[in-house]
């Protein structure tokens, strides 16, 4: 039932820094009672150095919400406010050796509580841009609001588009029906991939041949454009070798060896095929040794 790491369990059973903090000078209350997760973060900040001398929390929420709150207080204690604000929700999840996809919102809540508490200390008004929908894609922890906004913002038409922009649907594919429902809700109908595929062969003969140099530049530019998406998940990609139609890349960080590595490579390949206008194969560096 619970796919929690040992670290999550440990922080849940023995939460650090729980309960009110008498001399707090910055407090952030965030969360949603409707969703059953809400958190009050209390900071004691040294006014001269802006170092967080103490941090406490009170949480109404599930096991991982309590563990994430506990982890957050441990991470930020001793940091300056500016350094603390650099803590991402992924950092909180990493500190706990990962959270199940259904529970990633707990770490998001931790980061937002921190922003709210810092704003409160600085006498600013914090407003959240928080909107979260039902979890649609469990493989990548992508919710309905994110999918819908991405479809609207980029005029996406097909299932494949959604996967390329959000990664949702790029794993086990069990969420495709739900994603197609969102596509229909936004576009009024479902477009299939076929028309595009038919056009492609007609276009390619007229495309001017790229020089080797131009081709590699193009590959690099395409990877560059993909980088922010990978970095959002603590991963990265570098180009290693181009051998004809075979493009070898190294995935690093969270992407490397993760169960989604092949899906990520698939996404990169798709972009490169589009950019180069020819069929290429994207392979992990590991595959080079075997050839």
């Amino acid at each position: 039932m619970w796919d929690y790491s040992e670290k999550v369990r440990e922080h849940f059973f023995n939460p650090r820094n729980s309960g009110p903090l008498a001399d707090a000078n910055g407090t952030g209350d965030v969360g949603s009672i409707k969703c059953g997760d809400a958190l009050r973060l209390m900071l004691k900040v040294n006014p001269d150095s802006e170092v967080i001398e103490d941090a406490h929390f009170q949480t109404f929420g599930c096991g991982s919400a309590i563990a994430s709150s506990s982890a957050l207080t441990e991470i930020i204690k001793g940091k300056t406010l500016d350094d603390a604000l650099k803590v991402s929700n992924q950092d909180i999840a990493d500190y706990l050796d990962g959270l199940p996809p259904e529970k990633m919102h707990c770490s998001v809540m931790g980061r937002e509580a921190l922003q709210a508490a810092v704003a409160n200390y600085r006498g600013e008004v914090w407003s959240d841009d928080h909107e979260e929908g039902d979890l649609v894609c469990k493989c990548f922890a992508i919710d309905a609001v994110m999918i819908e906004e991405t479809i609207r913002g980029n005029s996406l038409k097909t299932m494949e588009d959604v996967t390329n922009y959000t990664k949702a649907g790029g794993g086990c594919s069990a969420c495709h029906e739900k994603i197609e429902d969102i596509l229909v809700a936004v576009n009024g109908r479902l477009y299939s991939n076929e028309p595009k595929a038919k056009k492609a062969p007609k276009e390619s003969p007229v495309k001017p041949q790229l020089t080797n140099y131009q081709r590699i530049r193009k590959i690099e530019d395409t990877l560059e454009a993909l980088r922010p998406m990978l970095q959002r998940d603590h991963g990265d990609v570098t180009l290693v070798e181009v051998d004809g139609k075979k493009i070898y890349v190294a995935l690093t960080g969270a992407c490397q060896g993760c169960q989604m590595e092949s899906a990520t490579l698939g996404g990169i390949q798709h972009k490169l095929v589009e950019a180069l206008g020819e069929l290429v194969q994207v392979l992990p560096v590991g595959a080079m040794a075997h050839n």
Binding site: V30, Q58, T59, P101, D134
Partner: protein, 402 residues
């Protein structure tokens, strides 16, 4: 210490007698009931016995009214889709807001295909309004589907009365009795219920076996077409081992029916009273006067259910929560919402569901375990201060994006 299992509405342990009866059907009794030779004939006989045992626990008039399926969910889908096929000019389904997802998700899906779904609302004790129900019965309705007993609170619907009313208007009536069969005496032949779903794993039979009762002369359209099994109403080679196990489980349920409604009920009542006496800001959900004898749904205010379950689990106690965060959706259960239970209590709802295997000693252990767990979590809660809720909890803690 021996673990305590109080999550019998989720699933039950197979009774050892059930397992024993099933074993030969994995080995020497492997035949296909449809075969002419003796391998098949013996299995055929065993299926007939089991059909009779199910007939008996349901009080059905004929054993041919029993259709074996693969689970409660399949039975529910078969019943509703059959009615829509059999009465194509009728496009409305009446159901309730508190049904199991086996009904609700199907109905939502059917709405996309243009069917009209009327969902009866419930009051804060989980009861429907029969007048509202009556006002919806007309000749556009293909089927009414209402659960006999609610899986989260145990609250019973007056399905026999509802079936009479539907029958008087010529409308089919189906009940999801997955939680009721084996816990309540049932006599279908004296009712107007046309179809009923049951699921083996809720009454100490294995998972993956169910039954759809279909009253003789009910217009029926199969979900699975193929061979002639189940008289053509559910094609597919019979799951003989599980069917035999279900038969034995139905026999045992009848033998223990009395104990279920006396001994088990007394233990459930003791558990509720024991916990409520020691934990304040807690209350029982559902209709206390009209509910299953085994189910206790208790709301603990200002704490969240998953934390309670994790701490109980650490002490070897298995229960379940009324908040659905554990299943990945963030809203509290649709049943709690439908009853208007405030979020701060709905999220802290725990369901203890007992069976004939639970003992007095186990109940005492749970009564002792719960209060310190609630106290421990309330210490972490922004709504709690010292030994009571903060004054004006809703104002004192009003998080952004609440």
């Amino acid at each position: 210490m021996k673990p305590i299992y109080m999550d019998n509405n989720a699933t039950t342990a197979c009774d050892p007698a059930v397992v024993e009866a099933m074993l030969p059907f994995f080995t020497e009794q492997f035949g296909n009931a449809s075969s002419i030779h003796s391998f098949g004939a013996q299995v055929g006989k065993a299926l007939k016995t089991a059909r009779g045992q199910v007939q008996s626990v349901l009080g059905a008039a004929h054993d041919s009214e029993v259709v074996f399926t693969s689970c409660g969910t399949e039975s529910d889908s078969t019943a509703i889709l059959s009615a829509l096929k059999a009465y194509p000019e009728r496009r409305t389904i009446i159901t309730t807001v508190v049904e199991h997802p086996a009904i609700l998700t199907l109905c939502e899906h059917l709405e996309k295909d243009g069917y009209v779904v009327q969902r009866l609302r419930v009051d804060k004790k989980g009861r429907i309004d029969l007048d509202e129900y009556k006002s919806l019965l007309d000749d556009r309705v293909a089927i009414v589907s209402a659960m006999w007993a609610n899986n989260e609170t145990g609250t019973l619907f007056p399905v026999e009365d509802m079936a009479e009313l539907a029958h008087a208007k010529g409308i089919l009536f189906h009940t999801d009795a997955v939680q009721a069969v084996g816990k309540l005496p049932i006599d279908l032949k004296s009712t107007k219920i046309d179809m009923l779903s049951l699921s083996g794993h809720k009454l100490h039979a294995p998972k993956g076996i169910g039954v759809l009762y279909v009253r003789r002369n009910t217009r029926f359209r199969p979900l699975l077409r193929g061979g002639h099994q189940e008289r053509g109403r559910r094609a597919g080679t019979e799951n003989s081992a599980s069917i035999v196990g279900l038969g034995v489980a139905c026999d045992l349920a009848q033998q223990h029916m009395e104990a279920e409604n006396t001994t088990v009920k007394r233990l459930r009542d003791k558990l509720e009273r024991g916990i409520l006496a020691k934990v304040k800001n807690a209350f029982v959900n559902g209709d206390r006067l009209l509910r299953l004898p085994n189910t206790a749904s208790i709301a603990f205010e200002y704490v969240e259910g998953e934390g309670i379950l994790l701490l109980l689990n650490k002490l070897g106690i298995a229960a379940s929560s009324g908040s659905a965060c554990t299943s990945g959706s963030l809203e509290p259960s649709h049943v709690m919402r439908a009853m208007g239970i405030p979020y701060t209590a709905a999220h802290g709802t725990i369901r203890f569901s007992l069976s004939r295997y639970n003992t007095e000693e186990e109940v005492d252990r749970v009564i002792a375990a719960v209060p310190p767990i609630i106290a421990q979590l309330r210490k972490l809660s922004p709504y709690w201060e010292g030994d009571g809720p903060v004054t004006n909890p809703e104002q004192a803690f009003a998080p952004a994006y609440a």
